[in-house]
């Protein structure tokens, strides 16, 4: 292998793991101790895991400084440039879902997310996507509520449908 300089992206990944380990060690430190008798207290394993993660972070940083690993990955080497448009639409859809699911309920919010996701992956027919999205999200809602017995709580659209078919609104 030829000598290379540090790989900035890999270095960032290593530093992230190192920081995560640091946070975990700190969080282990603030676990309240207990007067209860125990051979191994509640702190021991969190210290080991946090310390281990920090140690792995150090090794990853060292590997990144020696040239990193992702330049050798065929998937990274052959990949085209990142696609900010697709990532933006997808991320926007996720954020929109977070904001809408409370006031509007699951089906409408998930349908909006569906349309954004489809747009991210290159769909050019938002109207058709919206129709499919509503069908899919309503089907998912009734599948989970009726078949799996999960209580999701009816939103605006679900309540209207339940009222229309003369059922009690959950």
């Amino acid at each position: 292998m030829t000598r290379r300089g540090a790989d900035a992206a890999d270095l960032a990944a290593g530093v992230f793991v190192l920081l995560l380990g640091g946070v975990a060690v700190w969080a282990a430190g603030v676990i309240p101790t207990t007067p209860l008798y125990a051979q191994v207290g509640p702190k021991a394993v969190p210290y080991v895991v946090g310390g281990g993660l920090a140690g792995l972070g150090v090794l990853l940083v060292a590997a990144a400084l020696r040239g990193g690993w992702s330049a050798d990955l065929p998937e990274v080497a052959e990949a085209g440039p990142p696609n900010p448009r697709a990532l933006g639409w997808l991320g926007g859809g996720l954020v929109m879902n977070l904001l809408l699911i409370g006031p509007l309920g699951f089906s409408l919010s998930a349908a909006a997310q569906f349309v954004c996701t489809a747009r991210a992956f290159g769909s050019t027919t938002p109207g058709r996507d919206a129709a499919i999205a509503l069908a899919v999200s309503l089907a998912a809602f009734f599948l989970f509520v009726e078949a799996l017995g999960v209580n999701i709580g009816a939103g605006v659209l679900e309540a209207a449908i339940l009222r229309a078919i003369g059922r009690e609104v959950i």
Partner: protein, 497 residues
């Protein structure tokens, strides 16, 4: 209970209408998610976990195992017709299978992989039925110290031995262990790593983590790397195997099954290694007149062997899961958490305390194999149609189910925030080649390992040497060290020569 009377009991139960229906539903769903790129059995079973609140344990596990087996069958269809393996066990199948399809031999490739899957699945399930009780007998003498060492061995093999890098595998494992620590400590009642967030007191839900890793992270990664373009689905053609094809497939099926099952049983898990070994073995053993087909027009041996190895290994994974409570794949880990939500402890006691459940499940696996071969060969046209679901709408739908599966746990937007945040982490893990399966395994096995550790140390009155002075435990730990250091020492010795 011995295997024969166990199987008799199991088949008696498995042929009830309800259990047959669960098996059929599982096989159908499993094949569908196996065929669809972007979703796999781990995600599907995670999303189906709420079913454990309403359905009997037997029904739920028949469904889950149907999904698990079905996804193996479906994955090969995608590999052959699309040249994009749906899951890691099918990567090798794509090598020769896609070449056969491009040369107009997709039908025989699909047939040999479906029948090979059936042969290997049946051999593997027989292995579960006859090996399971033997391992249980042996496992009953294990104490908490041995259990802890066994889990350490499992951690080492799933993270450091498999996969491209021990360092990145271990990092994934420790991330999973960290996630598993969040919540109230069961022994002392203290909140750990909750950062004052009330929602975290109950711990991070396994469904949430699985959905984040396998659905949200995957979708984000695909979007990041997305470029416009159409994928081409190859034509199926005639499905029949000629006499010659059958003759060329038979021994690869047998060898693949024989190779795959032991690999699945070992706490090394993983289907990559046995499929790869089977591929190389078949390339070596093929008759000289067919050798040129490897890598050019596609050799049927190169599909039959690895595909059988894949399914036998998948069946093998159920052995440590059912007998020891050790999950060695992400899917098995999620099934283990389903056992926990029924209050059932998988492990040696399972075969005695839940004998009816275990044997009904094993019998259903035989039935599921028959169903899958029927579902996959005559109905292949249906799966080809599913393959043609356009990517934009496919990912839209996956995220709808991801959202409802997570939001349904607690109706809390906080859970969705954690889901998306972990999804972003998972996207970067894909980018930097950190494997995701060790995260799930670490998260579920971690708390069990901690419990075993504390029990062992309570028994030994705080003496840490208990792990190396008890011979069983010492032996298992030595194996773990060997698994971790062996390949490196080997490489060092080999490079010196």
């Amino acid at each position: 209970m011995d295997s024969i009377s166990g199987l008799a009991l199991g088949f008696g139960n498995a042929f009830s209408l309800a259990n047959l229906a669960w098996a059929l539903l599982g096989c159908f769903l499993g094949t569908a998610v196996g065929v669809l790129p972007g979703i796999g059995p781990a995600l599907t079973i995670a999303l189906l976990l709420p079913i454990t609140f309403t359905v009997s344990a037997t029904g739920a596990f028949i469904l889950f195992c149907g999904v698990f087996y079905g996804a193996m069958y479906g994955g090969s269809t995608t590999s052959i017709l699309l040249n994009t393996p749906g899951e890691s066990g099918s990567i090798i199948t794509a090598l020769e299978g896609a070449k056969m399809a491009r040369n107009g031999r997709a039908g025989p490739a699909l047939a040999t992989s479906a029948i090979g899957s059936f042969v290997a699945g049946t051999v593997g399930t027989l292995g579960i039925a006859f090996l399971g009780p033997v391992i249980v007998e042996w496992a009953l003498v294990l104490g908490p110290a041995e259990y802890f060492s066994l889990m350490v061995l499992c951690f080492v093999t799933v993270s450091a031995v498999l996969g491209s890098s021990a360092l990145r595998g271990m990092t994934s494992l420790f991330l999973g262990l960290l996630l598993g620590l969040v919540g109230i400590d069961l022994q002392t009642g203290q909140p750990r790593l909750t950062f004052g967030v009330t929602e975290l007191l109950d711990g991070v839900n396994v469904v949430l983590v699985a959905v984040a890793l396998f659905a949200v992270g995957e979708a984000l990664h695909m979007a990041w790397r997305h470029h416009e373009g159409k994928v081409e689905v190859l034509e199926v053609g005639r499905l029949m195997l000629s006499k010659e094809d059958l003759k060329r497939s038979f021994w690869p099926w047998m060898r693949g099954a024989g190779l795959g099952f032991p690999f699945g049983v070992l706490p090394a898990g993983g289907t990559e290694m046995p499929t790869m070994l089977s591929y190389y073995a078949e390339r070596k053993l093929v008759k000289p007149e067919h050798r040129h087909e490897f890598g050019t027009t596609g050799a049927i041996e190169g599909v039959a062997g690895p595909e059988a190895a894949n399914n036998a290994a998948a069946a093998g994974v159920l052995v440590p899961m059912l007998t020891l409570g050790l999950p060695t794949s992400a899917t098995a880990a999620i099934m283990l958490s389903a056992f926990q939500s029924y209050g059932i402890n998988p492990g040696p006691m399972l075969f005695t305390q839940q004998a009816e459940l275990v044997w009904t499940l094993i019998a259903s696996l035989f039935i599921a194999n028959v169903m899958l071969v029927v579902l996959n060969l005559p109905l292949v046209g249906l799966w080809v149609r599913i393959l043609k679901v356009p990517v934009p709408q496919l990912y839209g739908g996956i995220l709808v189910f991801a959202t409802i599966g997570t939001y349904g746990i607690s109706n809390s937007v906080m859970d969705l925030v954690i889901l998306y945040a972990l999804g972003v982490v998972a996207m970067f893990m894909r980018r930097f080649d950190f494997p995701v399966a060790p995260v799930v395994i670490g998260m579920i096995l971690g708390p069990m390992a901690e419990q075993a550790l504390r029990q062992a140390l309570t028994i030994s009155q705080g003496d840490w040497t208990t792990f190396v002075t008890r011979p069983g435990s010492a032996l298992i730990l030595a194996l773990a060290v060997l698994a971790l250091a062996g390949p490196r020492i080997w490489a060092a010795v080999a490079s010196r020569r």
